[in-house]
């Protein structure tokens, strides 16, 4: 593993390894007085963020720091990017500064892949356009492992704006690879065209799709999409595709409710559901740090010093 661009690039063995190392990271750090490992001492990790995402950036920063790496935050808004520096020139600059790994969040799909052509260091995709968000999918799989005892054979419903969701795409490839049954649920306007070949079931009826699901993953839906006719109104969307208490009751008792955040309470998820003990939302955030530690560790050490 030289870069992590998407979960579709991972073999099942590699994905399982990441999840195993994630567990080791959690075990090694949890409960320690100083929650830090020396594994990446002297290495430089650059967070190159072209989109505002305090959550993801902070998670990567925390992960890198717990591995004792030096972290440089290169926020595109406060850098020369605003003056029109190209991605390539930024990459060459980071290369010249000796970045060992670049964590990139970018509004353009494929930007991380382009970066690998200009950089020697590892590139870690922290979300590119509507393409991929591999560490989110890995932390979701890890959360299922912890809460459901595994991913193989479990049924996962991913609900909402699949079309614009990098989280949904990366989860489809990863969860299906790990043996889960994946259901995609949403209005046809928010499902990509020509996805008959995806390893998923497609449904338009949320009630029906919740039956027998072990996990339901609610995606953030931007209210503004109503202006582009993706759905008539936010209210109608919430009625048809929001997870409320009535729908929560349709799920098996052991089923968990996931959300990658940030949530639109009252839109795709009711506040009471978001705060219910079956929701794993804050746990996902915690697991995100372990997963990102595991990925940084594996990319920067090839697992050699473990």
């Amino acid at each position: 593993m030289r870069h992590l661009l998407d979960t579709s690039d991972l073999s099942r063995e590699e994905a399982e390894l990441v999840l195993d190392v994630t567990q080791q990271m959690a075990d090694a750090v949890t409960g320690r007085e100083v929650p830090k490992l020396p594994a990446l001492r002297g290495r430089t990790v650059v967070n190159l963020f072209y989109e505002d995402s305090t959550r993801t950036r902070t998670s990567f920063e925390t992960a890198a720091k717990r591995l004792s790496a030096d972290v440089v935050n290169f926020a595109a808004k406060t850098s020369s990017v605003n003056k029109g520096e190209s991605l390539r020139d930024t990459a060459l600059t980071l290369q010249a500064m000796g970045a060992d790994a670049v964590v990139i969040r970018h509004p353009a799909a494929g930007a991380p892949q382009r970066l690998t052509e200009w950089l020697d260091g590892a590139v870690l995709n922290a979300g590119d356009g509507t393409h991929a968000h591999p560490t989110q999918a890995l932390l979701d799989a890890y959360t299922m492992r912890r809460r459901l005892g595994g991913v193989e054979g479990r049924t996962v419903a991913i609900v909402g704006d699949i079309l614009h969701s990098r989280v949904a795409r990366s989860n489809v490839w990863l969860l299906s690879k790990l043996g889960a049954n994946v259901r995609l649920v949403g209005p046809p306007t928010l499902l990509p065209k020509d996805i008959d070949g995806w390893p998923v079931e497609i449904g338009y009826d949320l009630d029906a799709s919740l039956k027998g699901a072990d996990a339901v993953m609610m995606l953030r839906v931007q209210r503004e999409r109503q202006n582009a006719a993706f759905f008539p109104t936010a209210n109608e969307y919430a009625r048809l595709y929001g997870l409320d208490e009535r729908r929560l009751a349709l799920l098996p008792d052991h089923a968990i409710v996931m959300h990658p955040g940030p949530m639109n309470r009252g839109m795709e998820i009711a506040a009471t559901v978001a705060d219910s003990p079956r929701a794993t939302i804050t746990e996902q955030v915690t697991n995100g740090v372990w997963v990102r530690m595991a990925v940084l560790y594996l990319l920067l050490t090839n697992g050699e010093t473990r």
């Binding site: 353009a108 494929g110 382009r114 509507t130 991929a132 065209k193 996805i195």
Partner: protein, 431 residues
């Protein structure tokens, strides 16, 4: 000017003959000897009418960092072309007599290929007010073809008026068929690959809807419409049906749509970003068949040079378009069956005679017969070549065929009897 004797060429696959060029025209064909003439040994080579491109972006005026009329027409000559139609989306836009005359004059000064300017349909390509089409038609550049290429003439009223207006001088509108609302933010063909890549899709129906509408407008007004860069199977169906009814429509296809597919986008390398986008395998197959059959009338390059910074970036930030002039002949041969199977006469029909007729370039697209202007291309059907971007004559490097080995090389190109290319090399002094 010294006479030129092309010795032993196969004339459009019809048989071997010698061709004597005198004073820019073909003097004789047959078994000839011409003392004092420069002899071009054409043993094993095929002689074609010089290629004519209906769709070239020469970038001058305005983007001389990407291409100039000089470099673009040298690339054209290298690719076997003797005439190119220069699209109107320059800076300033070719929407006045002044700009089209300037482009034509630059072409004459360069001397590598005839440059026929295409005029804009609307002022600034903005799709709001008609450009001074009559002034351009009656200018020294004698513009016959009008296009807002890069933009669709979307407004049905403007399209109707443009079609009616160009009838006065036998003109035509070349439509870039793209329903703009259906392609807002579009980055690549909408389909299975765009779904995976998360790149906003450019649906086939956005092209087909406009072609269907403009077929109806052409029939209603009795005017001529030419469809630029047709890229989908369903577009071919619509055009076939229109022609069967006798509608006055013609269509072109680009070499890249005859060879490449949306699978290329998986690299996220914007060298594959083009408008209309690369489509599916099934579209490629239908387009090839339609070109052979004649539903698609012509191959046109949509040669679109771009400076490195406009391609060396994220896919979404890149400008659409790819080079075409130097590779079009090879790919047309591939699409029509390959170098041993291709019908050279059919190839000449689609790459030279028909495009010359559509553009109204009477001196071009003429078979090598006595009296015709000597606008000719001599190709080696047995040779192949590997595309090396740095070796291209174009000022830009954005070819999607880098590293590919393609059939057929251009050995010589003659523009009114003068060799613009000889022995596969661009003539530095045209004589």
């Amino acid at each position: 000017m010294t006479d030129t004797l092309i010795k032993g060429a196969d004339l459009l696959g019809r048989g071997r003959a010698d061709v004597l060029i005198r004073d820019g025209r073909i003097a004789e064909t047959g078994s000839l000897s011409a003392p004092g003439a420069r002899v071009v040994d054409a043993d094993g080579l095929v002689l074609l009418p010089g290629l004519v491109d209906l769709h070239t972006h020469l970038r001058e005026p305005g983007r001389e960092d990407a291409e100039t009329v000089y470099t673009g027409t040298r690339a054209a000559a290298k690719g076997g072309y003797t005439a190119v139609c220069a699209m109107a989306n320059s800076y300033p836009v070719a929407d006045t007599a002044g700009v089209v005359e300037q482009v034509a004059a630059l072409g004459r000064a360069a001397g590598y290929a005839d440059v026929q300017p295409i005029g804009a349909v609307s002022v600034g390509l903005e799709g709001k007010r008609l450009a001074e089409i009559g002034a351009m038609a009656h200018s020294a550049a004698a513009v016959r073809m009008f296009s807002d290429d890069g933009h669709c003439v979307w407004d049905p009223v403007l399209m109707r008026r443009a079609l009616e207006y160009v009838k006065t001088f036998g003109g035509l509108v070349a439509q870039h068929a793209e329903e703009p609302r259906l392609t807002e933010g579009a980055q690549m063909n909408e389909g299975a690959v765009s779904a995976e890549l998360g790149l906003p899709g450019w649906p086939a129906v956005a092209e087909e809807a406009i072609i269907a509408r403009d077929v109806l407008l052409a029939e209603y007004t009795g005017a001529r419409v030419h469809f630029c860069h047709v890229s989908t199977a369903r577009s071919v169906d619509i055009i076939r049906e229109a022609k069967a009814r006798g509608a006055n429509v013609t269509a072109e296809v680009c070499p890249h749509h005859l060879l490449l597919t949306d699978e290329s986008a998986r690299t996220y390398d914007p060298v594959y970003k083009v408008n209309p986008p690369l489509r599916r395998d099934a579209d490629v197959a239908v387009l090839r068949a339609a070109l052979a059959e004649g539903v698609i009338d012509a191959v046109a390059t949509d040669h679109a040079p771009h400076a490195p910074q406009d391609k060396d970036c994220e896919w979404a930030a890149a400008r659409p378009g790819m080079l075409g002039l130097e590779t079009a002949l090879s790919i047309s041969v591939l699409a029509l069956g390959g170098p041993t199977e291709v019908d050279w006469d059919l190839l000449a029909e689609r790459t030279s005679r028909t495009p010359a007729r559509i553009a109204g370039l009477d001196a071009h697209g003429r078979d090598p017969e006595p009296g015709a202007e000597a606008n000719l291309t001599l190709v080696d059907p047995a040779a192949s070549w590997t595309v090396v971007p740095a070796d291209l004559a174009s000022l830009s490097r954005n070819t999607p065929y880098a590293g590919m080995t393609l059939p057929v090389t251009v050995q010589a190109t003659f523009l009114r009897g003068r060799a613009t290319v000889l022995n596969g090399t661009i003539a530095e002094e045209i004589q």
